[in-house]
């Protein structure tokens, strides 16, 4: 059993694990242990994991930095982000640890906390306890249980009632290691009533070793709150990223998420949105560009629990070579959730015979007065458009590139930060041109 080595590891190092974390996180380990030993990692036999072999990802000799041995890195030297000058608030997680020497050029609005999960647990125990491991349900999710078992630190954004953080925040996750590593990271975003915040998370692997990363994101959007959560993955092919985003929304809140996979190895993104207050809106975007043997699996679950909510999902994949893409979109409209509007679209461009796309819409509707739709297409570039462009003198390859960038455009348009939109278009263009090598701009890869 693959899980056994991790169970043994936990038992053996429980003391050090706790000693290098804080009580708020440690408190959840017993429950996580019980669940993990019972259900283990998801298996291929489970319908929702049919195309992503999670167990195999952990069937390796992976190190865990449980003693919090410092990773010698200055993120400013080691790494130049592909999305520079977006924000005056830039933060770093080195593996799972918060980097506390980040320099900020401006002060945050008063009452706002942005920083380490450990520190937040100590300084804001009430808010921490109300949210940490409360939104991410681990009872049926072995990855969440596993992460909760080993998580020691992470990143928090807390915005109190009626406060708006105008400028976007940026978190840069840097993976560093001399040996193959397992990293278990947490992100917690709390936007209280009528609070507004935007966070961009950039993921980069700096060293050429295998990383298996679990990341659990918990988003709590209070009444009338607005939360934007964008993720940009630019990892090496040796990175396995098992990401779980859980979002809970109260009435009139508005949450936008977008996961842009520019360069990766093996990625599974789980999204679970729960619309718990009327007139809440959730917009979930996803875009992956994969080639070689890259793997992208997006699983989105939209739960409409109350009436009058809106959800909109748009997931797109561009696959070539031997890349694999998976999309499963589940929409649940509960019995009382009348006047629900739920829209789901999945479009895929597959430009080789060896690339594969698996797509499955799944709608469960128990209310009778709803508007729900789903659309799914997998195909190739429009030949008529290609000829039209060539007839204007545009080179065939250039025309293909322009059409591929155009294909990604509506996902980029969902992003509510104009400068980030522009930057994304440039990065996507570079990615298609093969100019975005490995993890972009880091010193190690140059």
């Amino acid at each position: 059993m693959i899980e056994q080595q991790y169970i043994d590891l936990f038992k053996q190092y429980r003391g050090e694990l706790d000693a290098n974390s804080v009580e708020g996180l440690n408190r959840h380990r017993d429950a996580a242990f019980e669940i993990f030993t019972e259900i283990g990692f998801p298996s291929l036999k489970q319908e929702e994991y049919k195309h992503s072999n999670i167990k195999r990802c952990f069937d390796a000799d992976l190190g865990l930095n449980l003693r919090n041995i410092p990773v010698p890195v200055n993120p400013y030297d080691a790494f130049k982000c592909d999305v520079p000058n977006l924000s005056t608030y830039t933060y770093f997680l080195i593996n799972d640890r918060y980097y506390d020497k980040a320099e900020q050029t401006e002060n945050l609005p008063s009452g706002v906390f942005v920083g380490s999960l450990q520190q937040f647990a100590k300084e804001y125990p009430i808010q921490f306890d109300a949210h940490y491991a409360q939104i991410a349900d681990m009872s049926d999710n072995g990855i969440v249980a596993y992460n909760t078992l080993f998580a020691q630190d992470g990143f928090v954004v807390y915005v109190p009632k009626n406060v708006e953080v105008e400028k976007p925040l940026q978190l840069i996750n840097i993976l560093r290691g001399g040996v193959d590593l397992n990293v278990n990271r947490r992100i917690l975003i709390i936007a209280e009533e009528n609070a507004r915040v935007k966070l961009l998370v950039c993921d980069h692997a700096v060293d050429d070793v295998h990383f298996v990363v679990t990341q659990i994101v918990e988003i709590s959007a209070g009444a009338s709150a607005q939360v934007d959560f964008y993720e940009l993955e630019e990892n090496s092919e040796k990175v396995t990223r098992l990401n779980n985003v859980f979002s809970e929304q109260k009435e009139n809140s508005n949450v936008v998420t977008s996961g842009i996979t520019l360069h990766n190895g093996y990625t599974r993104n789980n999204y679970r949105f729960r619309l718990l207050g009327e007139h809440a809106e959730a917009h979930a975007g996803g875009l992956a560009i994969c080639d070689k043997t890259q793997h992208i699996d997006n699983f989105a679950f939209l739960d409409h629990a109350v009436p009058n909510c809106t959800s909109n999902e748009l997931f797109k994949n561009v696959l070539k070579d031997k890349a694999t893409g998976v999309f499963c979109g589940k929409i649940l409209v509960e019995k009382d959730a009348q006047k629900t509007q739920a829209y789901q679209t999945n479009r895929n461009l597959v430009s080789s015979d060896t690339a594969q796309m698996f797509s499955k819409p799944q709608l469960e509707i128990y209310a009778d007065d709803v508007k729900c739709s789903h659309g799914l297409t997998t195909g190739q570039l429009d030949e008529d458009a290609l000829f039209y462009m060539r007839a204007r003198g545009i080179d065939k390859e250039e025309a293909r590139l322009l059409l591929m960038v155009a294909f990604t455009r509506d996902v980029v348009d969902m992003v509510r930060i104009p400068v980030l939109q522009e930057r994304l278009i440039t990065l996507i263009d570079k990615r298609f041109r093969g100019e975005l090598m490995r993890c972009g701009n880091c010193e190690v890869c140059k």
Binding site: F387, R392, G393, L402
Partner: protein, 247 residues
Amino acid sequence: MLKIKNLHAVVEEQEILKGIDLEVKAGEVHAVMGPNGSGKSTLASVLAGNPKFEVTRGSILFKGKELLEMEPEDRAREGLFLSFQYPVEIPGVSMVNFMRAAVNEQRKYRNEEPISATDFLKLMRDKRELLGMDSQLVSRSVNEGFSGGEKKKNEIFQMAMINPLLSILDETDSGLDIDALRVVAAGVNKLQTKENATILITHYQRLLEYIKPDFVHVLYAGKIIKSGGPELALELEKKGYDWLIRP
């Protein structure tokens, strides 16, 4: 400028063009008329290099070079322009980027530097005004959500931007109301010089009231069955095609 000799073309195993001969010289305007299904649009598509059509016999010399050996983009760079009967909508590609790419590809082919941002914007504005196009249209995606008339205007706008040697206007008049037709025709006339040439493909005499052809050809069942001067168009308007098909 253009010499078509014994051109045969098939689409989906059906022969559509069955031996076309046509010569177009600089400074000339030719009208190709004919009933539906006679092969007019196929001729236009074959000239532009649409890969859906297969040429089985014949040759097309353009400025002395064999067009059939060139990729569509190279034909365009050599100065051939097709105004599409059904312009394609390309969501996500802005008119501005599309035109900049097209103009710069042409310049690159002639070993010229890419056009500067200011010159490009000025060119766009001038040509847009020539066609009386709304500035909103050029800031949108290529043809996306354009009306039928706007799409046709947009074709001539692109023609004005690129300034080709040989323009083939495939049913440019269809879908245009009379005002739009006047504007489009005036645009085409303004672009006409002694150095370039135009082939108008049309059903109707109507367009030829605004753009005067030097030669009129009747295409029927894949062959040119009659050629003449502008008076032939008038005769066709009066008598239809039957007298030519069944003499």
